[in-house]
């Protein structure tokens, strides 16, 4: 293992538990413990962070670049009109409990996810499906109402994994999937242990064991890493301590991107934010780099609209409203607020919000906008801000991939109601032509930037810290999860 003392401990453990060598074990830290382990029955990203691609598999999977790859489906064909998908399934696959996998399991899983009483957190993914048809034990067809641009991507998300009818009900506590790792133990409040699945059909994984340890306190996380109690954090909770790890040759610090657009969400129906000039003034006075430096210690990429900068459709709109305090004051005066005004800024617990909020308040003060900072817990945020829309401003990160469509919903908590934009998204949703999709997505980004719907701050970085001898960890997270299938220790 890592050094002689640990090696000894490893040998000792190996003898004690009469298992094979523990040499290829990974102890990964996670900030949040999942509420349960069934990705088809919960919205918490923490579930996917343990089970995605490791324990459960879908028809497709998303690779570390965000591209769709075959998984349980080895290949597929799409009909001319884009409404019928036929998948060929991998053969000889069994679930971890020994039951066999075939097209019936796929039909069961998809029908379960799209059923009336489904508890799937992303039911929208399955809404377009009109029929799931078993053609042969290794062939399945899915029909959808209208062409979907990102249907294959959606089938690769954690919410669309394939489960067995025998074990679907107990997956929350004893998950049974088809993946290269199987579930061993969950010590609540502490860790989840996965072990290599010897019967896996496909490329073997390098690790024998994976232990996910839950540590939410940044200081405890730092201490655990420095003491060698953990091998890594896929996303380290405290950006301010990264320089310690950067200076330490034992660790690699890998800064990647996430799908998290961090925004100053604005209530577009509340006075005075319903006035475009007020929103423009705010856009002019926001200094994104200062927020990234001050709140995230430089980790983050500025964004000018609600879109991930690493996405091929991204347009750089940072200069739509360049930092210009004089111009901001003019706009505010034109809107009738030459002396500024008072408003509230509700801040959920993450650092980007709590620290970012203080910096933002100082920036807005320059043009006379006095913000009262109100700290809220997540439950309260979901209730007051997200559900009741009782807020002026808030800071939050939207972590779902390709989620620009939320602006087409006038009831969404931004309360942004723009008929042109809604039409645009409608067309984007049904269009499968790559060039047209790009054009539409870029047009949508521009509208949002120009309307200054929200204050667009930065793309949340994924700041991974792990043992320098590890390879195969994902630098980015195009989808919620920690895919360990390619992770290995250097010899």
């Amino acid at each position: 293992m890592k050094n002689s003392a640990l090696h000894l401990a490893g040998l000792l453990a190996a003898t004690l538990f009469s298992s094979t060598t523990l040499a290829d074990e990974l102890r990964l830290g996670l900030v949040l413990e999942p509420p349960h382990l069934d990705p088809t029955a919960g919205a918490a990203a923490a579930i996917d962070e343990v089970v995605y691609a490791n324990l459960f598999e879908g028809l497709t999977r998303i690779d570390q670049n965000g591209a769709v790859q075959p998984s349980l489906a080895t290949d597929w064909t799409i009909s001319e009109d884009g409404t019928r998908y036929e998948f060929t399934l991998k053969e000889g696959v069994t679930f971890h409990d020994g039951t066999s996998f075939d097209a019936e399991d796929v039909k069961f899983s998809l029908d379960r996810a799209r059923a009336e009483d489904s508890v799937n957190a992303q039911k929208g993914i399955f809404a377009p499906i009109t029929k799931v048809e078993v053609m042969a034990p290794n062939k399945i067809a899915i029909e959808i109402a209208s062409p979907q641009g990102n249907f294959l991507f959606n089938l690769g998300r954690g919410d669309a994994v394939i489960v067995a009818p025998e074990s679907a009900e107990t997956n929350q506590t004893n998950p049974v999937g088809t993946g290269p790792f199987k579930f061993v133990d969950w010590q609540q409040g502490s860790k989840v242990i996965l072990e290599k699945n010897p019967d896996y059909v496909g490329n073997d994984v390098y690790l024998d064991r994976a232990i996910f340890t839950f540590i939410s306190d940044p200081n405890a996380a730092q201490n655990a890493m420095l003491a060698g109690e953990l091998d890594g954090f896929a996303n380290f909770p405290a950006p301010e301590t990264l320089e310690i790890f950067e200076a330490d040759p034992r660790f690699d610090v890998v800064v990647g991107s996430t799908e998290g657009e961090t925004i100053l969400a604005t209530n577009n129906k509340a006075e005075p934010f319903n006035d475009l000039r007020v929103r423009q003034a705010i856009a002019h006075v926001i200094d994104r780099q200062a927020i990234i430096d001050g709140a995230m210690f430089g980790y983050g990429t500025p964004i000018g609209t609600h879109f991930a900068p690493h996405h091929p459709y991204y347009v750089d709109l940072l200069d739509t409203y360049p930092h210009d305090v004089a111009k901001a004051k003019e706009l505010l005066a034109a809107a009738g607020y030459e002396n500024g005004f008072k408003a509230t800024l509700k801040l959920p617990p993450p650092t980007y919000a709590r620290r970012g909020g203080q910096i933002l308040a100082a920036q807005l003060r320059e043009i006379g906008i006095e913000l009262e900072l109100i700290n809220v817990e997540w439950a309260q945020w979901l209730e007051d801000v997200f559900t009741k829309k009782d807020y002026d401003l808030t800071i939050v990160s939207h972590v779902e991939p390709f989620d620009i469509g939320i602006y087409a919903n006038p009831d969404y908590y931004f309360q942004y109601d723009n008929a042109d934009f809604q039409k645009l998204i409608e067309e984007l949703n049904v269009s499968t032509d790559e060039a047209r999709r790009k054009e539409l997505a870029q047009e949508a980004q521009k509208i949002l930037a120009e309307d200054a719907v929200n204050g667009y701050l930065f793309q949340l970085a994924k700041t991974g810290v792990w043992d320098a001898r590890l390879s195969g960890m994902w630098p980015n997270s195009p989808v919620e999860g920690n895919d360990l299938t390619q992770v290995k220790w250097a010899d």
Partner: protein, 286 residues
């Protein structure tokens, strides 16, 4: 004149003198932050963060580029305010209870004492956790929690002091002349246990500052953008390996503040307690 003389004689007590001077300096600086700090405490200047001590920023700047000295002044004020009001809560509720227990005696005294024991059994931290779970973390809730913790402390001291006064002849005289229990308590007992209460208040003040720092440190007290000494310590903790001085300054301030108030309290007690002081001082007959 007598007060002044008393004060001057107190000053010959070295720990009182040290404690008094240090506390006075800190309290004056804290109060000064109401109207003036060297730099604004809500001014964020990211470019200037983690600055070293300089002519402009005597002990450097914090992670938001704010002047640490100004932050300490404002933080000390919050800590002091919480501690003073918590002591206030403890005295306003605790002292009458103690006086009542001593004056009335019997079942009422036993009831008050048992209730006291019950509240006393909960450390301030536990009380604070209960309160913040119910009402959310804030400086006010921390203050209430520490205040509740102070109630039995003052009730005990008041009762203990009052019991000895109730045995004195002039109290008997007052009783014979027809005064009611509460009248005797207010007119004769309270003035005579005041010195005891002042000593206790000084000590509780230091404990209050410590408790506020502790509660803010674990996230149950003052919340940003307000500041307090405990909160500064909490915020500095994550930078400790890279910028240790960020944590040293608020930590040092808490130590000095608490030590100063304790020294002052001890000094006062030495002067006022007849058993400890040959001079006798201002008590009983005062």
């Amino acid at each position: 004149m007598r007060v002044f003389k008393q004060f001057a004689s107190n000053f010959r007590h070295p720990s009182f003198a040290i404690g008094f001077v240090l506390s006075a300096v800190l309290i004056v600086l804290a109060l000064l932050s109401l109207v003036w700090t060297p730099h604004p405490t809500n001014g964020v200047n990211i470019a200037a963060r983690f600055g070293s001590p300089s002519l402009q920023h005597v002990i450097g700047t914090d992670f938001f580029g704010r002047d640490i000295f100004s932050m300490l002044m404002a933080g000390a004020l919050t800590s002091l305010r919480v501690a003073v009001l918590a002591v206030g809560i403890g005295m306003v509720v605790g002292v009458p209870l103690g006086l009542l227990a001593a004056g009335h005696g019997g079942w009422l005294e036993r009831l008050i004492l048992r209730l006291n024991d019950f509240v006393f059994a909960f450390p301030a931290i536990i009380t604070a956790i209960i309160i913040t779970t119910l009402f959310g973390p804030s400086a006010i809730n921390a203050m209430i929690a520490i205040g509740i913790f102070n109630i039995p402390v003052f009730a005990r001291v008041a009762r203990g002091g009052a019991l000895s006064i109730w045995t004195l002849d002039y109290v008997d005289a007052a009783r014979l002349s027809g005064l009611k229990v509460w009248q005797i308590s207010v007119r004769h007992v309270l003035p005579n246990i005041l010195s005891l209460l002042i000593v206790q208040a000084t000590i509780q003040l230091s404990l209050g500052i410590l408790a506020e720092a502790g509660l803010s440190y674990i996230g149950l007290g003052t919340q940003p953008p307000e500041t307090s000494l405990g909160l500064m310590l909490k915020e500095a903790q994550s930078f400790f390996l890279a910028y240790p001085m960020q944590a040293v300054w608020p930590g040092l301030t808490i130590i000095i503040f608490v030590m100063a108030l304790n020294l002052m309290g001890d000094g006062l007690r030495d002067q006022m307690d007849p058993k400890l002081s040959k001079a006798g001082g201002i008590n009983v007959a005062g």
